[in-house]
């Protein structure tokens, strides 16, 4: 119950995890869960390919904010566009804006400067929770960011600080500093780490938890262990290949889960593998499992 109360209180929640662990499904399920608890939720997706709408049974938004379910909003962001918007906002003169935007210097600078895209995305999230959203959704209670799977999750959370250190003045520098302060605020910002109980994802999760502790002095609010195989029947000599494999996968899950819990004593949710393809039905089922688990913790 404590975790749910904690999640209810936050304004920004970043969901991180390695590719292929079901991070988007968990993000959508968490979004639905908090929306059902009466929070107005905005789910932000930054992956180059738009996917979340498929999980929430809505048409692709084309970058617009859309309401996928009651209290549950969705938007697909392109960091490039956010940066261009920032130029428009600061310059205002049409001809100049066009020149800058078509300049290779600007293009390369925004592509190449590390941390800028992350800063732009967090900047958007911050503006939203501060009540500067568009008319149809002025102020969500909480923004859930489904962070891109590439690289370690820490890169996302550490980026604004990196930018703030390198760029100390000007609007981008100010924005980065503002976000850094926001991300340090335990009452406003939190994170959820999603993993499967397999060797590589658990290894990366352990490294991520250590890096968060050391570099950000933070722990995630919740670790979700997804896609667990069910307990296998007692082994028998007549078992076929598939049954033996099932037993072995379950054993690997248990070993890896034990490895995780030997260094993580914080909130943990276990989500079972379900015979359902990725989509709205799976999101619903995972949401129910999470809700049950979190009430128990």
């Amino acid at each position: 119950m404590e975790v749910l109360k904690r999640l209810d209180q936050l304004e920004l929640l970043v969901v991180t995890g390695k590719g292929g662990v079901g991070k988007s499904t968990v993000s959508a399920a968490l979004g639905a869960l908090l929306a059902n608890r009466g929070r107005t939720v905005l789910l932000l997706e930054v992956d180059p390919r738009e996917n979340l709408h498929l999980l929430l049974d809505t048409p692709p938004s084309g970058g617009e904010i859309v309401e996928a379910a009651s209290n549950l909003w969705l938007q697909h962001l392109e960091p490039r566009k956010l940066l261009d918007d920032l130029v428009r906002e600061k310059l205002k003169v049409g001809a100049l804006v066009r020149k800058i935007l078509s300049s290779p210097v600007h293009r390369h600078f925004t592509e190449g400067c590390p941390g800028l895209k992350e800063t732009a995305v967090f900047g958007r999230a911050l503006r939203m929770v501060e009540g500067h959203g568009p008319k149809k959704l002025r102020k969500p209670d909480v923004v859930i960011l489904d962070a891109p799977a590439s690289g370690h999750g820490i890169a996302w959370m550490a980026a604004p600080r990196l930018v703030a250190e390198v760029i100390s003045s000007g609007p981008i520098g100010h924005l980065a500093t503002e976000i850094t302060t926001f991300l340090e605020d335990r009452d406003r910002f939190g994170s959820v780490v999603v993993t499967t109980a397999e060797e590589m994802p658990i290894q990366e999760t352990i490294e991520l938890l250590e890096a968060m502790e050391q570099r950000l002095d933070r722990r995630p609010e919740l670790v979700v262990v997804n896609a667990l195989y069910p307990s296998a029947p007692k082994p028998r000599r007549s078992d076929d290949e598939a049954t033996r494999l099932w037993a072995r996968r379950r054993a690997v899950n248990e070993e890896e889960l034990a490895r995780l819990t030997s260094i993580w004593d914080g909130p943990l949710a276990e989500v079972a593998l379900e015979p359902i393809d990725a989509g709205p039905t799976l999101v619903g089922v995972v949401g129910e499992q999470l809700a049950l688990d979190l009430r128990r913790t």
Binding site: D47, P114, I172, M200, P230, R249
Partner: protein
């Protein structure tokens, strides 16, 4: 279509599909067949490093693996930053110029974080070892990207940046000896606007670092550009074969096809498509003993087999589709890695001889 006939084999695919392990297994099989083989990989699991018997000493160094195979096996772990640094040492006109870049604050942040740096460095290293020609075969594992094609575009992006003229502007010395912004009339209206804009947006400090970086980097660019073009040629050469690895299940078929199409359309030589970690079909269970678990496992088996069938159907004869079953354990030693390599080769042989795999 057969990696055993190509000196360069590049294993591509999305994150979490078992690409790295498969690349190592293919390399080991190649060494077993008597070819001197180098496996280059990113971020391998601890177990795979243990299986190969290599550690941090293999970062960007070709390290022999005690594989006792007919051909020697080497492993090298790729690291973007060290490769980048090495490149600068090679192309810098003198030691001092090299040091200026390596200690530049902008470079320091940039080299590890620059979009595409890791991808580019992988192809750069591939080119280096191909150029040296010390091995009969090189198997390259690629960084896990959602859009795995990004890896291939990296040399092209660098060339297009170098050709764009962005550098000519960036290279104009912006600052005088006192670190003050110089008069910029010769940059024209565009240069002035861009510069004053960047100044307002990010402040002079970063600009100063950037200008210094580009100035120090200038002598390197010609060599760098040449190199990027050569890498691009190498990737598209008929000597190079791509193996596309995908996860199981019909849900992945569209993604796999999309990527296969983009590869071939862009002129890369795509060989086998591997569907990895396919759940076996569960034998029917007596209803009395059937549990939720049984229902799940039969569903997974069916889902994965339908996925393979669907993919085979859509791919047709253009590429062999190789099905690799989910293994009870990830390979933890050379023996299990060899077994995986053998399995891959025998399944590929079945596909190539047109007999198809028994289901």
């Amino acid at each position: 279509m057969d990696p055993r006939r190509h000196p360069l084999v590049i294993v591509v695919g999305g994150g979490g599909v078992g690409k790295t392990t498969l690349a190592a297994a293919i390399g080991l099989a190649s060494a077993h067949a008597g070819d001197d083989t180098l496996v280059m990989t990113f971020d391998p699991s601890l177990r795979l490093k243990d299986a190969l018997g290599v550690g941090d000493e293999a970062i960007n160094e070709e390290t022999p693996v005690a594989s006792h195979t007919a051909g020697r096996l080497w492993a090298s772990l790729l690291d973007a930053r060290t490769t980048f640094d090495r490149l600068i040492h090679r192309y810098a006109p003198d030691e001092a110029a090299g040091q200026r870049i390596l200690t530049n604050r902008f470079y320091d942040r940039l080299s590890g974080n620059l979009a595409g740096a890791l991808e580019y460095m992988a192809s750069e290293r591939l080119f280096e070892v191909a150029d040296e020609g010390l091995h009969d075969r090189v198997v390259l594992d690629t960084p896990p990207t959602r859009q795995a094609i990004d890896f291939l575009g990296a040399p092209e992006r660098i060339v297009s940046f170098l050709d764009s003229g962005a550098l000519r502007i960036a290279l104009k010395p912006w600052f005088d000896d006192q670190g003050k912004l110089k008069a910029t009339s010769r940059l024209g209206i565009l240069g002035r606007n861009v510069e004053s804009f960047l100044d307002r947006m990010v402040g002079l400090e970063l600009l100063r670092d950037m200008a210094e970086f580009f100035q120090a980097f200038a002598p390197l660019f010609e060599g760098f550009r040449e190199r990027a073009l050569q890498v691009q040629d190498l990737l598209k050469s008929p000597r190079t074969l791509f193996i596309l690895v995908s996860g199981p299940g019909s849900g992945r078929v569209a993604d796999t096809l999309f990527f296969a199409r983009r590869l071939t359309e862009a002129g890369y030589n795509l060989g086998p498509i591997v569907v990895n970690r396919v759940h076996p079909l569960l034998k029917p269970v007596h209803p009395a003993t059937k549990t939720e678990g049984h229902r799940l496992l039969s569903w997974l088996g069916r889902r994965d087999h339908e996925g393979v069938a669907e993919l085979r159907d859509l791919v047709g004869d253009s590429h062999p589709v190789v099905e690799i079953p989910l293994l009870p354990d990830e390979p933890t030693d050379l023996k299990s890695l060899s077994a995986l390599g053998e399995l891959f080769e025998s399944r590929l042989d079945e596909e190539l001889s047109g007999r198809g795999t028994p289901s």
